[in-house]
């Protein structure tokens, strides 16, 4: 249903660096006057999630991009009731995803570029992972999670959990942008490069390195069911012959040895620091001396409340894991050093909310 654009440049030109000042202004500052409206808005916020997911599911923004602009026209193309479409379109207008003028609706720039399936930058499929009932369920007893200090749901770390197949498929259109930014930094040009991609998921981090470096060989480690998606993506990007898989748990399988580059995208946040150190040690022992470790994470500032998107991510780790976290650079850097790496450094990956942490084996 959703395609990953192979031309990452098309995606990038539409991805502005988000102005942190603007994001901050969206939450009421601590000095503002008491505002009960903000409480209503927050308690009803789940409706935003469900309504946007429905709009994406119904291809609302695609039908509008295709020229449907009235309730009647949109309802016909979406095979939906006029009452439902009228209410959804008005709600999407209030949320800023549509414009409304008289009785006609138009896509906002965000919807036209990122939620319309005709756009090569469409990332709408994210809804099917971010608002997946399995993920949302992790939040159903948040007070219980706060009391316990970890998930009170079944979590998402069981072997071959199908939610990660959904992740691999749904998040790919967005992740290709992050992966391409990382590849530009870590891929060597034309030089043999043995690459390990830990918890590869969609496989795009390794695949983008293989695409950037025709002499790279990529070994992707993840659950067998998820690696099927990674393999499809490797085919799509034409790197199948240099794409190898290591199915199983990153804790139990053998990674092999002699790696020049180890990619660890969005994996460490699921675990506590001792577990992360153990994993990093295992990676270290599979690497050539001087090889590069590349961690992609949500890295909040030392204050842990900024920047908002990276800092907010931690609530997902409280709801969904036993002891995961959004680690600061000081914490990541400490774990990396304990595992035997040196020269750790960080760099932001605009326009994404993620950070690249590099170190040497």
């Amino acid at each position: 249903m959703f395609e990953i654009s192979q031309d990452v440049r098309i995606v990038e030109q539409f991805l502005p660096v988000r102005d942190p000042a603007k994001i901050q202004a969206m939450s009421t500052p601590a000095t503002a006057a008491p505002d009960p409206g903000r409480i209503f808005e927050t308690l009803n916020a789940y409706q935003q999630t469900e309504a946007l997911k429905a709009a994406i599911e119904l291809d609302l923004f695609t039908h509008i991009a295709d020229g449907a602009s009235t309730v009647t026209e949109i309802a016909k193309r979406a095979k939906a009731s006029e009452r439902g479409i009228r209410i959804l379109c008005d709600y999407m207008t209030i949320q800023g995803f549509l414009g409304k003028s008289g009785g006609t609706y138009s896509n906002s720039p965000t919807a036209q570029v990122f939620l319309n399936k005709r756009s090569p930058s469409c990332i709408g499929s994210m809804a099917f992972f971010l608002a997946h009932p399995r993920l949302m369920e992790c939040f159903h007893d948040m007070a219980g999670s706060v009391r316990k200090g970890g998930t009170v749901s079944q979590g998402t770390l069981a072997p071959e959990d199908p939610v990660w197949v959904e992740f691999a498929r749904s998040m790919a259109p967005f992740m290709v942008v992050v992966a391409d930014a990382v590849a530009k930094i870590v891929a060597k040009s034309g030089e043999p490069q043995k690459v390990l991609d830990i918890s590869a998921g969609h496989g795009l981090y390794g695949i983008m390195v293989a695409k950037a470096n025709p002499a790279a060989q990529v070994h992707a480690a993840d659950w067998a069911n998820v690696l099927e998606v990674a393999r499809e993506n490797a085919d799509k990007f034409g790197v199948t012959d240099r794409f190898h898989t290591i199915p199983g748990s990153a804790f139990d399988t053998s990674f092999g040895s002699g790696y020049d580059l180890v990619l660890v995208p969005n994996f460490l946040h699921h675990f506590d620091p001792p577990t992360c150190v153990k994993l990093l040690q295992k990676m270290h022992s599979a690497m050539k001396p001087g090889a590069t470790l590349a961690i992609v994470e949500f890295v909040p500032n030392e204050d842990r409340v900024s920047p908002p998107m990276a800092a907010s991510f931690v609530i997902q780790m409280l709801g969904g894991t036993e002891a995961g976290d959004a680690y600061t650079f000081a914490e990541l850097s400490g774990m990396v050093a304990k595992a035997g790496f040196r020269e750790s450094s960080q760099q932001p990956l605009p326009p994404t909310p993620q950070t690249l942490v590099l170190a040497k084996a």
Copy 2:
């Protein structure tokens, strides 16, 4: 657990009129640059709901108001893990409900006044209705609701649905403010006034009229289980001897006759226009000629996308009812006229997002 303040003035002084321009600014304007961050934020918005509900459930803001300011102190009072409290407090800081300075947290003005149980204006109990699993469940297949044009869940309109008992208890601290504003307009001073309160719930609309007019007799109609809550509130506000109940469905029970005032707070939005007209006719026939009809509703402007809080309400009617709506004044006014009323007029009820529609029998 939560108390309704009997001194409404205390509540009112903290309820600012929300600046509509400021509310609008919170959603991305349709002319802004494409912003994928807004899509992430919206798809993750349900986490705001669950996290704020957890904070209220754990009395987080009350413990902070009582002087706990570090993770260790707050965790001890909340009988919760330090990891959970640290993550929740940071997230609440990002959402604007707490301030953070070094390792200490403080309540934002909104939290101190409206979410701290020591405050007479505390409305935190709203979380237990607005984020009730039964209400949230109505949104679990929003695309299905849009296709069908109505709820695909069990809805909330079954006889004696216990969710309305939760409503009556949880929403009372906020509703007393709206009810008091309405009573100031419709209560006659010292003149005999026979009042019918339709779908009374917490009973506060009628009770506030009885409080404002010592010569008023109030008849509250709702499900029997809900009326128990209304009766408790009548006791609390000292109007028990002038508070009468009419248990059962508003469609089936007899209202009696000779009413000077009929209150219809937040009821019509559950039904389609023909049903509303039928109900209004039934009310009309129970009223004295020239008597007052007072409808309290979320009334969007004719554009149906402003003001945001009243206009957003309609999504709840799509998710939870077969044919409910947030009616414009023109629509309400038309239904009221069809039922035989005249001289309809509307007035906002600041600081609430609701509107009072008046008409004469």
